[in-house]
Amino acid sequence: MHSYINSGHKDTRSGFGSGLYHLGKINPKVVALCADLTGSLKMNAFADEFPERFFQTGIAEANMIGIAAGLTIGGRIPFTGTFANFSTGRVYDQIRQSIAYSGKNVKICASHAGLTLGEDGATHQILEDIGLMKMLPGMTVISTCDYNETKAATIAISNHSGPVYLRFGRPKVPNFTAPEKPFLIGKADILTEGDDVTIIANGHLVWEALEAYNSLKEIGIKAEVINFSTIKPLDIKTLLKSAKKTGRVVTAEEHQRNGGLGDSVSQALSLNNPCPIEMVAVNDSFGESGKPDQLLKKYGLDAKNIISAVKRVLKR
């Protein structure tokens, strides 16, 4: 059994809210903007405590992105908050021109990403956001796995100069990473060591990968589970070291296969160390309404599917 203990289910978005509130207390340059989803993004504590540094933009995400870009010109560090769908696809050109191309120090913080948004269905379940964001030159892209890591990442990105996309989710999920552990942008975290196969995961699928680790161990397969919360810049050093050791890689993410973590990993491996790879991801389809665990199962993203992918990659 792996040594990670679920200290209790918590939502990653609350980790963001807590990290943002902490930043509000320690860094007067930090400001926050929200497009009418303050409660959903858990930004209330910041908004209540620092009203002069909180900008309610109403349901107008394009304007929010532009205002955030402008606030950097006065030396502020803006954090925008809305659902992942409205944080990326809806405002892609605003991010591209006013933030990325203009080199503005804006932190785009996106909740309710992926299928686990649940019952609201496919209109809100964006599965393309990581691909959209990682294509933008200079954009750092992060997808965190639990409450503690989301809080730590929120704090860490305030010290990074440049635009960042931070993706997290809606449901309460196991909270298992160490509290107060500093988040290192661009550094993958080896959660279990193993020689037989490398499992690379991020977001909600890191816990699924750890569940898969336990089952695989019972049948004599030792998996090296690595949390790749930073998709860009990708920690190629850690990836290659593990892939050279195991010779087999499985990726797992709550995103389209096209444009996601697996895509980045596959590119890095094929350029540097070609080896068999299997991908656990959404395969070119939209989601639907349902409970998060039902959706992960139906779309092939749970621990069982990771185990199947491991078995497939070991046969190649």
């Binding site: 394009a62 532009g66 402008g70 950097t72 010109i73 006065g74 006013s98 203009s102």
Partner: protein, 282 residues
């Protein structure tokens, strides 16, 4: 400066035409229509410090060009007011230049604070900069320029609503009402109705400039805008201009929106515009 400011627009128009002619690309029509506006702002009204350029612009007024395609007039006025050497105008739209087709911070050109070109984004960015000024107690102002056709972009109205609703009274947005856009007149393409009334309905104080190619009228209109700032409402200046103003055969038509003059046309145009401050060397 007051006595000599009248000499500047003719030189700026020469710069615009020579820049666009040299690379046979760029947008002279709107640039020439807004020449008096840029000259009034940068040589008379803006509290700014060109050297050294400071991105944050603390304790100075800021300007954002939202309709970035009129970069030639912006570059000419920035160079002529000391942001970078006038000789650099010769690199406009050429490879390895800081003077990109549309303005950008990417190559580090002094005077530019955000990229623009994809329309409709500048007012939001300016509001952010205005909010940053309010937050830090900086009493200086934020100026913007937008095309009238550009107002067809929905984001402009998101921003207009925000500024009116949140009483952003340190912003002065000017609309270049030349009545033209790429596919024809705004009347034909997408009739704008009364632009001033629209902004008033969004909670803005509106000021009209009847002839935006009359330098003294532009100075008066902007001065009135500055006087009305700080009173709880954002300021919108609706400024009527002629595209291609200053050259008879280019004036009052959308034909010269994105077309460069040929050798003969350049010669004809320059003969109508006295060289007042010295042309930049080719």
């Amino acid at each position: 400066m007051n006595n000599s400011i009248e000499l500047i627009p003719s030189q700026v128009r020469r710069d615009i035409l020579r820049m666009v002619h040299a690379v046979q690309s760029g947008h002279p029509g709107g640039s020439m229509g807004c020449t008096e506006f840029f000259v009034a702002l940068y040589f008379k009204l803006l509290n700014h410090s060109p050297e050294p350029f400071n991105m944050d612009g603390k304790n100075e007024d800021l300007f954002f060009l939202s309709n970035g395609h009129i970069s030639p007039v912006f570059y000419s006025v920035l160079a002529r007011s000391g942001y970078f050497p006038v000789e650099e105008l010769n690199t406009f739209r050429k490879i390895d230049s800081r003077l990109q087709g549309h303005p950008t911070t990417h190559e580090g050109l002094p005077g530019i604070r955000v990229a623009s070109g994809s329309l409709g984004q500048g007012l939001s960015v300016a509001i952010g900069a205005a909010e940053a000024k309010r937050l830090s107690g900086d009493k200086n102002l934020v100026f913007t320029l937008h095309g009238d056709g550009e107002l067809q972009e929905g984001q402009v109205w998101e921003a207009a609503l925000y500024a009116g609703s949140k009483n952003i009274d340190n912003i002065i947005a000017t609309i270049d009402a030349n009545g033209q856009q790429i596919d024809g007149s705004t009347e034909e393409v997408m009739a704008m109705g009364d632009i001033g009334l629209k902004f008033e309905a969004f909670g803005w104080q509106v000021i009209q400039i009847i002839d935006g190619n009359d330098l003294s009228q532009v100075i008066d209109g902007l001065t009135s805008g500055i006087k009305h700032s700080g009173k709880g409402k954002p300021i919108c200046i609706v400024m009527k201009t002629e595209m291609g103003a200053g050259v008879d055969f280019m004036s009052g038509t959308h034909k010269w929106h994105g077309i460069a003059p040929n050798d003969e046309q350049l010669e004809n145009a320059l003969s109508q515009l006295p060289e007042t401050l010295g042309d930049y060397p080719l």
